[in-house]
Symmetry: C2
Subunit: 462 residues, 2 copies
């Protein structure tokens, strides 16, 4: 028998080296990097959707259920807004939460041109994006999308991701999304390579990782779905040494997960005490955190031409950042083992800070979150990366944060950090992002920056 | 600053090589392998516990709660027996389930003698073990144990595992346990190395991995807790090639997890329709699957000298096995992506078969589980490993299964297996067992066999 011929190298055919080559390619075989913003603007003009806030009463097909008060679509599909009750030893709260048990696909198609991997990116409109159209994965589809619950158009390029050739998959991992806003939401983050001809529709362009890294410096250009997939790419980060050996890092993480006692359970939206519903929003009495609102989308050429839906709208802009230091010449970022009520498994690794500062403005300095003021007051000469990005525009409205990576020192961020924090290398973060339940979506945006070398953090291999 | 001195090799100081040396050591610096069964027998005599079935009414501190019918301890600690309602597209059932949200520690202490790693194993009594005393990890403790909810004795060697030195941790991972009997149960599986003198109590002995591999051939000698930790050890399996590249394997697994629609929710035990409670047990009307029973333990020298508790008792012996083939000289085992109602994340990889045959005896051949009859009828000359092992004797009574690894061929187990099954190498299985949510507890017993070379499956590196 010829089974020997069936064997493959476990590590794939030079995947890490080929991704590195693509990250080093400042330009590619397709559109010039500098032309991408203008192209997105032209796509915006070609597809002039208008999004406006509406009262809940104008929602079509969505309503607050009689018994529970949950906000649901009459089809029972898409998602619903329900309540979450979180109990921890030192805190307890209730909040609205988005429930969407379906697992969607965020997929990027990859193909070599002139020996360099390019990625097929889409100009896609989402109603919650501040500028509506952003650069998105090849496919960004909920199961409702691709099984046509919308009654809309076919999802382009979907077939490449439904039954991918295992030999051509570069990454395929279920990743969590915002644990403060979603109940146990996961999407499938995929990069799949193709060889043959791929017809390129007007809304799509092939770009290298180097080009995507350059574009990550632009505000509100690369959408969240693209960032999380790029953060899940199996890059080769060269460091072989770190403050923690890999086994010690896993042990610390296991300890963080084991020591947290979090009980989170779904409750009817009506039982979310402290929140009020009026004609236009569901909001906290003190107007902190976020609001549930409704929008109408008109005149778009998306899957369906117009629709209404709820969105979560944060009260103001967030700040999300990694403290960054080198130890013995090896770059490290300071991760935070975060509890978020909606995580399936208690704790994931987040950035050093991930806060909406306005929510903490009333607190005296000693009670403010660790490292928040450090990052807010960061001198510009210490900032290695900074850009404003929005979270998923299909669920969140103007959910902008300033994302940054800033070089810090022993006086502000010691080598022995406080409990719950750990210095790890970009390679270690990337290794963990290859599996579910380790790296949260905000940290994956910053990992996309590291993976594409957009922060310019280079060093000699150790 | 001297931060460079702080750097560690990410891969640890030759951990895989040192584990391989220990697996190759047929004897060690301590007790001879052949003397271990006799030593366990002497520990049984030295600690003559008696376990007897009692009616529920004789339970001390345990009772069925008035409203829910749940079986609980008056302290609210330890565990409870509640109900689970599982809904899948093609099936729906209700069953009793053990709820124990605490994360316990299963820890093995490791130490080099004459340059070879030895593991400190304990002769430990558990009331559900068929022969009461089996070889166990150094520490096997629920949080109730080590925070003294039992009011019992101190857990020996516990300090090594509560705040382990990250540089001396060989493995530390949360692993699931029986998803058919436990609701989302996880334990922390740890191996921690020490250098200094360790006083060895009478109930403990240092053994090499090679010795443990030999002892895994004995029926009912190495307990489940020891097996799962050994299955989580970061061994070096030499194969660099496989039928699926690692990325393709993860993609298949992600697809299996994404396609399963499993809704499992806890319900009161009283609402578990189809099960009956009498004075002595909670059981199904047709007596299939398992019973909930109660036992009294008397005269033991465990943490407390006598106690009563509930146990789950399967109706008869199970069969758990891997089909095994080589492809191009590289060994592979056939894993099954299994849904178990109590898993936190839907699907984990189990053995090729994992069934209690009696539960399926009434079915016509065409409806019996895949590969079950193949494994039941396996000719002895194809069996590479076979032994009877019991599951965790602190929760399960006489829960024995025949564990086997048997060489099969293309006619019975094709290279392209049915949906839900996949050929993977021992190295790939071991790699996945280094993270949570991938490998179920039965597969980890068989992985312990592979890790300790107990199945004698050797091959040239590819």
């Amino acid at each position: 028998m010829t089974a020997g011929l069936l064997l493959r190298s476990r590590s794939g055919a030079g995947t890490a080296e080929r991704l590195a080559r693509s990250a080093a390619a400042a330009e590619g075989a397709g559109m010039a990097t500098g032309d991408v913003p203008g192209w997105l603007a032209s796509r915006r003009r070609a597809c002039p959707a208008r999004v406006r806030r509406i009262p809940f009463a104008e929602l079509d097909g969505w309503s607050f259920a009689a018994g529970t008060g949950d906000l649901r679509h009459r089809s029972g599909r898409f998602f619903s807004v329900e309540g979450l009750h979180v109990v921890r030893p030192d805190a307890e709260w209730r909040q609205p939460i988005i429930v969407q048990p379906e697992i969607g696909i965020l997929g990027i198609l990859a193909k070599e041109f002139d020996g360099v991997l390019h990625f097929l990116m889409q100009a896609k409109m989402e109603p919650g994006n501040p500028n509506l159209v952003q650069l998105s994965p090849t496919v960004q589809a909920t199961r409702s999308n691709y099984t046509k619950a919308h009654g809309g158009a076919t999802v382009r390029y979907l077939d490449h991701f439904l039954r991918p050739d295992p030999d051509r998959v570069l990454t395929d991992v279920l990743q969590s999304e915002h644990g403060s806003w979603f109940y146990r939401k996961r999407n499938r983050n995929m990069i799949v390579e193709v060889d043959g001809d791929v017809p390129v529709h007007d809304d799509f362009r092939w770009l290298t990782l180097g080009q995507l890294g350059a574009l990550l410096h632009e505000d509100n250009l690369v959408n969240m779905d693209a960032r999380t997939v790029l953060g899940s790419a199996p890059m080769a980060h060269p460091e072989r040494a770190a403050l923690s050996p890999d086994a010690g890092l896993l042990s610390w993480f296991t300890g963080e997960r084991a020591r947290q006692d979090v009980r989170a359970r779904r409750i009817p939206l009506r039982e979310v005490t402290g929140w009020h519903r009026d004609a236009d929003s569901v909001h906290r009495a003190d107007q902190r955190f976020f609001r549930v609102v409704a929008v109408a989308v008109e005149g778009s050429a998306r899957e369906v031409s117009s629709w209404t839906q709820p969105l979560f709208e944060p009260v103001s802009r967030g700040i999300v950042g990694f403290a960054y230091r080198t130890f013995g010449g090896v770059p490290h970022v300071l991760v935070h083992a975060r509890v978020e009520g909606g995580f399936l498994d208690t704790v994931e690794l987040g950035p050093t800070v991930q806060y909406v500062p306005e929510n903490y403005a009333h607190l005296p300095p000693a009670e403010r979150p660790l490292f928040l003021d450090l990052m807010l007051d960061m001198p510009s000469d210490r900032v290695r990366y900074s850009a404003v990005h929005a979270e998923e525009g299909g669920r969140f409205r103007d959910a902008e944060s300033r994302y940054l990576i800033a070089e810090t020192d022993e006086s502000t961020t010691p080598a022995e950090p406080p409990p719950g924090y750990r210095w790890i290398t970009p390679g270690q973060l990337n290794w963990l992002a290859g599996h579910s339940h380790y790296v949260n979506v905000q940290a994956r945006t910053l990992l996309a920056v590291l993976n594409t070398h957009a922060a310019g953090i280079d060093h000699a291999p150790v």
